[in-house]
């Protein structure tokens, strides 16, 4: 095993994300995830900053790093200009690359996200799209959403959308030549490699 801290530092964002944490805990005080989960971004920054390899590995294999909601409320409040939410992004990326994410229940959820959001991007050119928000799996969207999906061909054009149409507009079909370019970008920049690693998770 190489040096995990060095591996974190190699990420484009790490230098900006964690300069010098003084452990004041403002990030934890403002954090929506810390109110909902047993989660403490202050401790995560401290663990990474201490460069304790054993502790960093535990973190990469933990549930903890998957609790952040990426709202970045921590960013403007940090008196040292750190970005704990971005430290999390770096940890998650490395956890997936090293296969450590498979050791946590929350980490394994990445497969579900790759099969939904990740596949949507490559197949239809949207992260999310009404066609992919099935009311059966989204009871929280209420009867209005069910009504919309049942009648979308009548409703969406009334609102000015170009539903599944060619040309510009909301909900337009993304042309195949554009999708092909997006897929090639994923090939060239490591997006497909990450996808493959995440989808290796056993059911």
């Amino acid at each position: 095993m190489g040096n995990l801290h060095d591996l974190l530092m190699q990420d484009l964002r790490f230098g900006e994300a964690l300069k010098a944490c003084m452990n004041c805990g403002v990030c934890t005080a403002i954090c929506p995830a810390a109110e909902f989960y047993d989660y403490d971004p202050r401790r995560i920054c401290d663990t990474v900053q201490r460069q304790d390899e054993e502790e960093i590995e535990k973190l990469l294999r933990s549930e903890t790093i998957w609790y952040c909601g990426q709202c970045m409320s921590c960013k403007p409040r940090c008196p040292r200009g750190n970005i704990p939410g971005e430290v999390i992004s770096v940890l998650r990326k490395r956890s997936q690359e090293l296969g450590y994410f498979k050791d946590s229940e929350k980490g394994r959820q990445q497969k579900q996200l790759m099969n939904s959001i990740g596949s949507n991007i490559l197949e239809i050119g949207y992260c999310v799209h009404p066609d992919k928000v099935d009311p059966a799996y989204h009871p929280e969207q209420g009867p209005i959403w069910e009504w919309y999906i049942e009648n979308i061909e009548e409703i969406a054009p009334k609102l000015g959308a170009n539903y599944h149409g060619d040309g510009p507009g909301a909900l337009r079909k993304i042309r195949e030549e554009n999708l092909e370019e997006v897929r090639r970008i994923f090939e060239v920049t490591g997006g497909m490699e990450l996808r493959k690693k995440v989808l290796e998770v056993e059911p």
Partner: protein, 351 residues
């Protein structure tokens, strides 16, 4: 000669281009809002704004859900900038607040580390053969409506005044986290006192209510909502906001992020089903509007073309307070004129 007093407000301003915009669409849960924005820009303000057919996702939701690496997102952003460059535009206007944060982040990284910009150029060239220029200005559409709020006011048919009491309507605003929390100086009023939505409300006759959890996240949380098992996080954070605003009895909630607008609307329904609780006195919930919907309504646009029928918390109570004329018979008609079967009614939330 007396000295001009120092105007600290200027420190909280951002540069917003005047004209010639390249519009990037969102994932479009509010198609009527995007259509209204383009109509306002072109027909009310006489601006030039490009709606490019070859655009696609910026991958922002995938990026913050950690299924898209930063190098990939950076290059997808570069492709979108190449479309802007090809079309001859320099002012980039992403509809979604997550996109606004992503584009701002990538451009800032490139400014600080030109090697990363070169890497993005190289990746894009290898993958697609394309080249791109950086935008001169990136503004969120809410920035633009804010900028022209006083130009729009004389064109408006209605004001944010309660016609029954003659008093200003009381609004709470929710600014999407990625509008100014990542790069505070990129938001009007920065992250602690964003003025982008409150400026519209005040200009158009309303009163902005401050409330303790005004800056708290709506709870989307990317993977915290997108994975069904995690959704407790999402509803719990919205609930915290509703409980915080409830004592002030707001007439409506105004948002500038398509995600926030959707969650603050739909979670009111969920909480009403789970806990038989609504956050207004009469059991209808607090209507949630996008800034495009609010602008369109005050300009006199048809609410059913704006898409208010897609809100789970119905907006008629608010429209009645403003005095907006609407035809209830048109609400459930499709584009063909066919009257659609009515949606089911919630158990608790009144409609």
């Amino acid at each position: 000669m007396s000295e001009t007093p120092k105007r600290f407000w200027n420190e909280y301003q951002k540069e917003i281009a005047d004209d010639h915009y390249f519009y990037e669409r969102s994932q479009t849960f509010f198609p009527g809002s995007e259509a209204a924005f383009l109509k306002i820009m072109r027909e009310e303000l006489g601006k030039d704004i490009k709606d490019e057919a070859n655009q696609h996702t910026c991958t922002g939701i995938g990026y913050h859900s950690d299924v898209v690496p930063i190098e990939t997102t950076m290059t997808v952003v570069a492709r979108l900038f190449s479309l802007m460059t090809e079309d001859g535009y320099e002012n980039y206007v992403p509809s979604c607040v997550t996109s606004f944060g992503v584009f701002t982040e990538m451009v800032e990284m490139w400014k600080h580390d030109p090697a990363l910009l070169e890497q993005a150029r190289k990746y894009l060239k290898v993958a697609t053969g394309r080249e791109f220029e950086l935008p001169k200005n990136i503004a969120h559409p809410s920035d633009i409506i804010f900028k022209f709020r006083n130009d729009l006011k004389p064109k408006m048919k209605y004001q944010l005044v309660n016609r029954f009491t003659g008093k200003p309507l009381r609004a709470v605003e929710h600014v999407g986290c990625h509008y100014a929390k990542i790069f505070p100086e990129k938001g009007v009023g920065k992250s602690e006192f964003p003025h982008v939505l409150s400026g519209m409300i005040e200009a158009w006759g309303g009163e902005v209510i401050d409330y303790p959890e005004r800056r708290h996240c709506c709870g989307f949380g990317f993977r915290q909502y997108l994975v069904q098992e995690n959704r407790g996080y999402s509803v719990a954070n919205s609930k915290k906001k509703f409980e915080s605003m409830e004592p002030y009895e707001p007439d409506f909630i105004l948002t500038n992020c398509p995600g926030c607008g959707m969650f603050l609307d739909k979670w009111q329904y969920t909480i009403s089903e789970l806990e038989h609780k609504t956050y207004d006195k009469d059991g209808y919930g607090i209507p949630v509007l996008t800034y495009e919907e609010l602008t369109g309504l005050l300009l006199g646009y048809d609410p059913w073309t704006l898409g208010l029928q897609l809100h789970q918390v119905q907006c008629e109570t608010l429209m009645d307070k403003i005095g907006i004329a609407y035809n209830p018979d048109e609400k459930y008609k499709g584009v063909s004129g066919k009257v659609l079967a009515m949606p089911d009614k919630p158990t608790v939330l009144k409609v």
